[in-house]
């Protein structure tokens, strides 16, 4: 004997599983976020090969490597490393998100499923020391892909924080479950973010890639010249994403 289910679609939460969704819908507030960000010039050919059409490469080709510590917020506490490439969408400057490592599954699944941020799980850390603030990213644990450091040399007015962040664009790839063509759906998605910086420092940053990996190439954008390096503390609110274009 069978009986119909009662989980009506209007009661379906934003994410799986329906009984206990892994993450809530945006906006996602993260408080007291600490970060180091290092901007650099890179190779045009390397950059172009990472950028999906119809995004355009900014000139000169520049990218950013960063490490963040999110102490608490709507998707938990975690560390994150990121690599982005500066680009243009219809003439407006944005950053295109190339890769991330994060340390919790909520951030990972929210990033991938809702935003298209290509996050993987890794071992990431950020630490204050007498030389400044330094961070690292490993995957797997012990296999060091990235070291970054920013000495705190010059305290800046927080009004200058706008130069730190362009709005971000991700390419969300979702596989078709049945293998039918096209085997993926690919959407360019803009992620508006509201930031309130409470502390901002500049320093002579450094980057190194101690070990290589067949599956996680964090040196895919060569660091030809570091142009600026920052340490900041503040609040970050991830607002509702916006579909820019579905790619064919």
């Amino acid at each position: 004997m069978a009986d119909q289910g009662r989980l009506t679609l209007d009661r379906l939460p934003y994410s799986m599983p329906p009984t206990s969704p892994l993450y809530p819908p945006p906006p996602i507030m993260c408080r007291d976020v600490e970060s180091i960000m290092i901007n650099f010039e890179t190779d045009r050919d390397s950059a172009v090969s990472l950028l999906p059409t119809p995004l355009e490469l900014a000139d000169p080709p520049t990218g950013t490597l960063g490490i963040l510590y999110i102490p608490y917020g709507a998707i938990g506490t975690y560390y994150e490393s990121l690599m982005t490439l500066n680009c243009l969408w219809k003439g407006e400057p944005h950053r295109y998100d190339i890769c991330f490592l994060v340390t919790n599954d909520v951030s990972m699944a929210f990033g991938r499923e809702a935003l298209g941020a290509p996050k993987k799980l890794g071992n990431v850390g950020l630490q204050r020391s007498k030389e400044g603030v330094y961070g690292w990213a490993e995957r797997p644990v012990g296999h060091r892909l990235l070291n970054m450091g920013v000495p705190l040399e010059e305290r800046l007015p927080v009004e200058q924080a706008g130069m730190l962040f362009a709005s971000s664009i991700c390419l969300r790839i979702i596989p078709q479950p049945n293998g039918a063509e096209p085997t993926i759906s690919a959407d360019l998605i803009q992620i508006p973010v509201r930031r309130q910086v409470t502390e901002l420092w500049r320093g002579s940053g450094s980057i190194s890639f101690p070990e290589q990996s067949a599956v996680d190439d964090w040196s895919v954008l060569p660091v030809n010249r570091i142009t600026d390096s920052f340490y900041s503390i503040g609040h970050v609110e991830i607002l509702g994403p916006r579909l820019l274009q579905t790619l064919k």
């Binding site: 599983p17 390419l171 293998g179 085997t183």
Partner: protein, 255 residues
């Protein structure tokens, strides 16, 4: 400003350069697996089922714990809570929640089939003659604990070792604020073809089991009350092949 010339090739999964996982099929070498059915309350069960799935009575929950000895996603363990249902008279197990200790398994499960996995701690191992399994999320908060003792070895016809296949409600959020999510009901391969035909089949035992399900706000594994635990099934060895799923129903336009 420079217009890019597309040198970009899409991968099956994110990130676009060096995707996290390849396309199915995926071959799994089973270490051990324990399947524990239990009788539960029909009303509680019905409240969890999406339209189109029917509760198969008497209402029966299923806990499955498995340790994969080898897989494309490494060595990992998983625990799943399911419910016996029917879809157009076919008996399936609707997966309510899962905890695994491999993050790639979380991603591929959620993104391809909609298996509602989360990352946590899972252990299935022997303590003397007792098979002991548990799942925790976060570490130290135990939502599932099972002990079992093997009883009789079964001579199971090849391909019928695991029982009904799984069915999942896959929900991919819309990138637009008020957009519709993509919601599919998906079943995995027919279980008869799941056991890899070219490999040796698993050894199968019946087992007596004791099962405890607990809950937290984030992981309510006690959502199905345990009325009585049924005889369990233990599998050791064998291989399974997990292929693309089949979309049973697309709810996207009904939202």
């Amino acid at each position: 400003m420079t217009q890019t010339t597309s040198q970009f090739k899409f991968t099956y999964s994110m990130p676009p350069v060096g995707g996290t996982y390849p396309r199915p099929p995926f071959l799994y070498h089973r270490g051990e697996e324990l399947i524990v059915p239990f009788d539960t309350e029909a009303d509680a069960a019905r409240a969890l089922l999406p339209p189109g799935l029917e509760l198969r009575e008497p209402a029966r929950g299923i806990v499955r714990m498995v340790r994969h000895e080898h897989s494309p996603f490494g060595v990992y363990s998983g625990a799943y809570l399911g419910l016996r249902v029917t879809w157009q008279e076919e008996i399936l197990i609707y997966i309510l929640m899962g905890i695994v200790d491999s993050y790639v398994s979380v991603l591929v499960g959620r993104e391809v089939w909609g298996i509602p996995k989360k990352l946590g701690t899972v252990n299935l191992g022997w303590s003397g003659e007792i098979l002991h399994g548990y799942a925790e999320r976060p570490e130290g908060v135990r939502v599932l604990e099972v002990t079992a003792q093997l009883r009789d070895q079964l001579q199971t016809p090849p391909g019928q070792e695991r029982g009904p296949g799984g069915v999942f409600l896959r929900n991919i959020p819309s990138p637009e604020r008020d957009g519709r999510p993509v919601v599919h009901l998906i079943k995995n391969e027919d279980p008869d073809s799941c056991e890899y035909p070219d490999g040796p089949g698993p050894l199968v035992w019946m087992a007596n089991a004791h099962l405890t399900l607990s809950g937290s706000a984030q992981d309510p594994w006690d959502v199905l009350p345990i009325l009585s635990v049924r005889p369990a099934r233990y599998l050791k060895g064998g291989t399974t092949l997990l292929n693309y799923g089949k979309i049973l129903h697309d709810y996207s336009n009904e939202l």
